[in-house]
Symmetry: C2
Subunit: 492 residues, 2 copies
């Protein structure tokens, strides 16, 4: 060993970057710039919701050149924000990604600066209890027993994977975690074609392949048909698959349809199957007057609920809830002597890393916790009911016209529709092509943001009503806007 | 359809929570509070680095009571920050979680407020090109060819899983994604016992069980011994396993040891194996004068590199880099008509959701990009070299004493050591118990934050030198501090 005993002095670059007064200066400048941008967006300024350039040109414009002159931190940040899609604009009517409550973004600033990795309690002295406070509130909100528990994780996809890993370990019939597959017949779950693509992804990650998901037919409103479950179970058996779970959607992605949880729960109970509910979008309806849509949620063995959807949090903030607390430890086991001390994971309930796929984890509960304390749960109830009312208002408008077609009456705040005026093609490839072209025009125009999705055989426009600042006049203007874009297309 | 055409008026709770002027007010107050806290921590105030209460009491203290009076948002946030473990204090000498560059936390504020979900380009008009700018810089930094690509994802555990899924799909010999396991013999990877626990987790998630990881012996400095690879391959074959990859560590977690990548790369090339390098911690050494430690990194098929480790970013910001660009699409395939249009994923290179396990994803590149432009890459080189110098300085101090024992000369900035004064027990259970007790005292005291880890048969104290504001005097005082705590223990 001839290592020098001195580490030398702190380089000026480090002293400068870590200077608290620099942070203070930059911080104040940034807050003002963001508040101004927020006021412009919520105030319905004339600038587009989305200004989308050619992707190759965008990549060139934002390329990083190490030899270029420095650009002030706040300049880069405000430019990135200015060019982002503006979720706070009331004409953002697109994905199930909300305009976050601005105070929650301040919570994320604290999480980032503190950077408590929180896989062990020592690394999250406040992050740990705050996560439990949020989990307890969420578990209680969906009606789970007081012994239920769970964990927050980075996103619904990781959340669904976590829940399915717990289901696999609990119901496969052998120790899959330790012995691996195959230790018995190939496994499968039953689910409708409308489940989020992260379910199929999770199954393929686990090595179950395409046949790991056995499709259950849906009714005419895209809800899983519980009467079709026995036949699906038979079909799985005929394929040589052992079914361990049913995955239901509380708010399917494409249409927002809610699967009938009570009937599915009965089927699961009768057949010893795990019930996983992907409530990423819709579990939040439990805190609203629309809670009948999620009747039966409390019978789930596991629930995924994204606070970054219908609780208006910035991404990511996903809860994975387990009715039986021990299940929270079944998804993962690990050895990491630098982290954990105990031989039994539940002897260290305060070390949240024992329950998640993640090692280092953001303090993601803080934003929701701070908003709950500042605004009360009522704000979230208002948010859910407001966005569902917007979905109903849009659907009612569409249904009252003779040139728009509604795919299905929306259960909540996701609406699928298309423009089909007199003389438009009948449903089929020509109408689909027209709808796709119309949607491309809408994106290029940018004054409203709407989506498209394939439902059964047809292509439809799609809007998730996630912005509670959207008003009736925006919905009226959306219809006029689509008509005008469509008329231009027809003329050409 | 009898849905009402009106959505009603915006509830006052919503108008208030989304008020830009409220954001401005709260934001300025929060910035000042955080800047003050930062000044106290970096200024080595007398308050402890870590003040850890009883976990049950903490949970009670932070419980959320929906009926309680509102607490101002900024009050909750500053209290949560005040009770956090203070990574910016120069006596934080614990986990591989850095005190983030404060300006990067401001970048995370922008990411949170904009909340661009970025799985498709439309939902990240600036997030997409900024992510590519960061990926390009990182790929170039580790010497990958200019055609290399990758993706950012939420954490090293998800990153390692992503890379191993790509390896599985590329090298299993059949379409595991579509057909599932088993479509051939059970699979395995070769790796040392020192790889991060997320590697074993990923293999168990994929259903490979405990035997999915075939252990390769390490040398006396905890580096994978390449001479032992052929025997490990034979052992796997004897177990009936088909080996598809070697997983090497560029900075193993416990000791920071760097596996010899050139020799491992030769072995992989000779046997047609995928080389995955978990460089979560150490890939950053490529931008420093210590780059010889990662010689061979450019031969990897996949690399994981956490910017939230040695690039001093707030968690999470993990890059998964692929030498062959097509591999970036092999980990995942999916159908989500509301998201993607193309039949071939690489026809939509700008839609990053095609490459990650995540659907909604934070704009996680922005913080690093803004810092690169503001401070230049030199800041990161200085950060890496400073923290490695601190590791060497601590090791030299320990080696120069006769009462401390160094587990192994550190390759970089992770140092394992124990206090073993004259009269202390010989290595074995008694010394381990003493070390564990000493570490518990250190946590309870809280003026320094250090860890423990098991290395081979023994228990050691462990420090990752992640705070570039740590100075020689802190290291001197750490030794005195451990001695004083140890002397108290001996006296009792």
């Amino acid at each position: 060993m001839a290592a020098p005993q001195s580490s030398g002095s702190i380089p000026p670059s480090i002293a400068d970057a870590y200077d608290p007064e620099r942070f203070r200066r930059d911080g104040h400048a940034l807050i003002d710039a963001l508040a101004d941008q927020l006021a412009a967006a919520t105030g319905r300024d004339e600038a587009p919701v989305l200004a989308l350039g050619d992707p190759t040109a965008a990549r060139a414009a934002w390329a990083f050149d190490p030899a270029a002159s420095p650009v002030a931190l706040v300049d880069t940040l405000t430019a990135a924000a200015a060019g982002a899609i503006r979720l706070h604009h009331p004409r953002y009517l697109g994905h199930q990604v909300p305009p976050p409550i601005p105070g929650a973004a301040l919570g994320d600033l604290v999480s980032a600066l503190c950077n408590n990795g929180m896989s062990v309690y020592e690394m999250g002295p406040t992050a740990m209890p705050i996560e439990f406070a949020v989990i307890d509130w969420m578990a209680q909100a969906v009606g789970l027993p007081s012994t239920a528990t769970g964990v927050l994780t980075s996103g619904g996809s990781v959340g669904n994977l976590t829940a399915l890993l717990a289901a696999r370990q609990a119901r496969a019939g052998w120790d899959v975690w330790g012995a691996g597959d195959p230790g018995g017949p190939p496994l499968a779950v039953l689910c409708s074609s409308q489940v989020h693509y992260s379910i199929a992804r999770a199954l393929r990650i686990m090595g179950w392949g395409a046949d790991g998901a056995i499709a259950v037919p849906v009714d005419d409103r895209f809800r899983l048909d519980p009467a079709a479950l026995p036949a699906a179970l038979e079909r799985a058996r005929a394929l040589g698959r052992r079914v361990i779970a049913v995955v239901a959607s509380a708010g399917a992605t494409a249409t927002g349809a809610f699967d009938p949880l009570l009937a599915i729960g009965d089927f699961c109970a009768a057949h010893g199957l795990w019930l996983h509910v992907d409530g990423a979008h819709g579990a939040a309806l439990a805190i609203s007057k629309h809670r009948a849509l999620v009747d039966g949620l409390a019978r789930a063995d596991s629930i995924v609920w994204d606070a970054h959807k219908m609780l208006a949090m910035p991404a990511l903030c996903t809860a994975v809830l387990f009715r039986e607390p021990g299940r929270a430890y079944e998804a993962f086991a690990q050895e990491a002597s630098y982290l954990f001390e105990g031989a039994r994971p539940d002897a260290e309930w305060w070390n949240l890393g024992l329950r998640t796929l993640e090692c280092t984890k953001r303090m993601m509960a803080l934003k929701l916790y701070a908003c709950l304390r500042a605004y009360g749960p009522g704000l979230f109830t208002d948010y859910v009911e407001r966005t569902v009312a917007l979905g109903a208002a849009l659907a009612a408008r569409l249904a009252a016209t003779d040139d728009f077609e509604l795919a299905t009456p929306p259960d909540a705040n996701i609406v699928c529709y298309r423009w089909r005026p007199r003389g438009a093609p009948a449903p089929g490839p020509a109408l689909d092509a027209f709808t796709a072209q119309l949607r491309r025009r809408a994106v290029a125009d940018g004054r409203f943001y709407i989506l498209q999705t394939r439902l059964g055989a047809g292509l439809w426009l799609r809007s998730a009503l996630m912005n509670p600042l959207t008003e009736d006049r925006d919905l009226d203007e959306l219809l006029d806007h689509v008509r005008a874009l469509g008329a231009d297309l027809v003329t050409e």
